[in-house]
């Protein structure tokens, strides 16, 4: 009960939640050998290639690695603002 009350009144996540979140990221890096920085580079490169064909707002683009069992999945959610020709 104490714990329940503490959780309602504190915005700070518990140490177990922090451990789990940190581990989730570390395990993805370990399993894919892809650091957070490398993922950023991947995102920039992907953006550059896609921008040759479609118009993309870099801020709305989301690229994440998710875990399904022991399988990692690269998920890209890229809203298209419009065809590139409209720029001209």
């Amino acid at each position: 009960m104490d714990n329940f009350i503490n959780r309602i009144f504190s915005k700070e996540p518990s140490s177990a939640d922090k451990a789990k979140d940190r581990l989730r990221l570390v395990l993805i890096n370990d399993r894919t050998d892809l650091s957070a920085a490398a993922l950023e580079n991947l995102k920039d490169d992907l953006l550059e290639v896609l921008s040759r064909y479609i118009h993309i707002d870099p801020k709305s683009m989301r690229i994440d690695i998710t875990q399904e069992g022991r399988q990692q999945r690269l998920i890209a959610d890229i809203p298209i603002s419009g065809p590139i020709s409209r720029k001209y």
Binding site: V26, D30, R70
Partner: protein, 266 residues
């Protein structure tokens, strides 16, 4: 009958591999199974003291590998349980004294006369670990609900899969139900969620484990201890029985209350 070879490994040191090996071996043997436990940590012999057999060693694993004795001469019979044997590691040699093919040969020689061979792997991912998993029909990865142990377990699972030993099963050791309840320890569900392999069992943190190790008697022979019961359940699951996980919450509260009533609690 041919024995099944199970290797217990963890990546990180100090998570409880040797205690788990001794207790799973002892629990299987109390169920009437013929069991040999092999200490594959060459140079850092430990399974002998955990089983309380340190004074009975004449020959060790390296003696058997190098032909200075017959394999049966390196098998030390347990004091408490019939049909439980220890093959101790060599204390004054290093891991290069044994190769993966030596381990396969030794285990194949043991198979016809036993039901189980439990191999205690050294920590790390090098030669000693490779030796330990080479003969395995099944691998058990043991971890603690703690960030570095879980990370190392994940790495080990990846290596075991890459070595085509199948997906290992998970044993979570030293779970403290009180701390989990306070949200200050990863829960068993959290660990299973992260590692995504089958959970073989959970062993709660239990002071009785250290006490039994001090005495050289496996905790699983103590029916009053929760950790002891957890190891018995793990052995029964290995035998193919469907045993639900222990209710650790109820268990700790109930046993603490009982033991405090009788003044024998911690």
């Amino acid at each position: 009958m041919s024995a099944k070879v199970i290797t217990i490994t963890s990546g990180k040191g100090g998570v409880g591999k040797t205690t788990a090996t001794a207790n799973i071996g002892a629990a299987l043997a109390t169920m009437g199974q013929r069991v040999a436990c092999i200490d594959a940590d060459i140079g850092l012999r430990n399974l002998d003291v955990v089983l309380g057999l340190e004074n009975r060693i004449v020959y060790d694993l390296v003696d058997a590998v190098e032909g200075r004795c017959r394999l049966s001469q390196a098998m030390i019979k347990d004091k408490h349980i019939p049909d439980l044997y220890l093959i101790p590691s060599a204390q004054t040699r290093d891991k290069t004294a044994v190769s993966p093919s030596d381990m396969i040969r030794i285990c194949d020689e043991l198979r016809p006369d036993l039901d189980w061979v439990i191999v205690d792997s050294p920590a790390g991912i090098e030669r000693g670990f490779k030796n330990a998993i080479a003969p395995a029909d099944e691998v058990i990865v043991i971890t603690n609900p703690e960030v570095s142990a879980v990370r190392d377990a994940d790495r080990i699972i990846g290596i075991v899969e890459a070595e085509e030993k199948g997906t290992p099963k998970l044993l979570i050791n030293r779970l403290n139900p009180e701390m989990v309840k306070q949200n200050n320890m990863l829960s068993a569900d959290d660990v299973v969620d992260l590692l995504a392999i089958h959970l073989l069992g959970i062993v709660p943190e239990d002071k009785a484990v250290l006490i039994s190790t001090n005495q050289g008697t496996p905790i699983t022979l103590d029916n009053k201890s929760l950790a002891g019961q957890a190891y018995q359940n793990i052995a029964r699951r290995l035998m193919g029985e469907e045993i639900p996980l222990l209710d650790l919450d109820k268990g700790s509260g109930f046993f603490n209350r009982i033991s405090s009533v009788f003044g024998s609690g911690d």
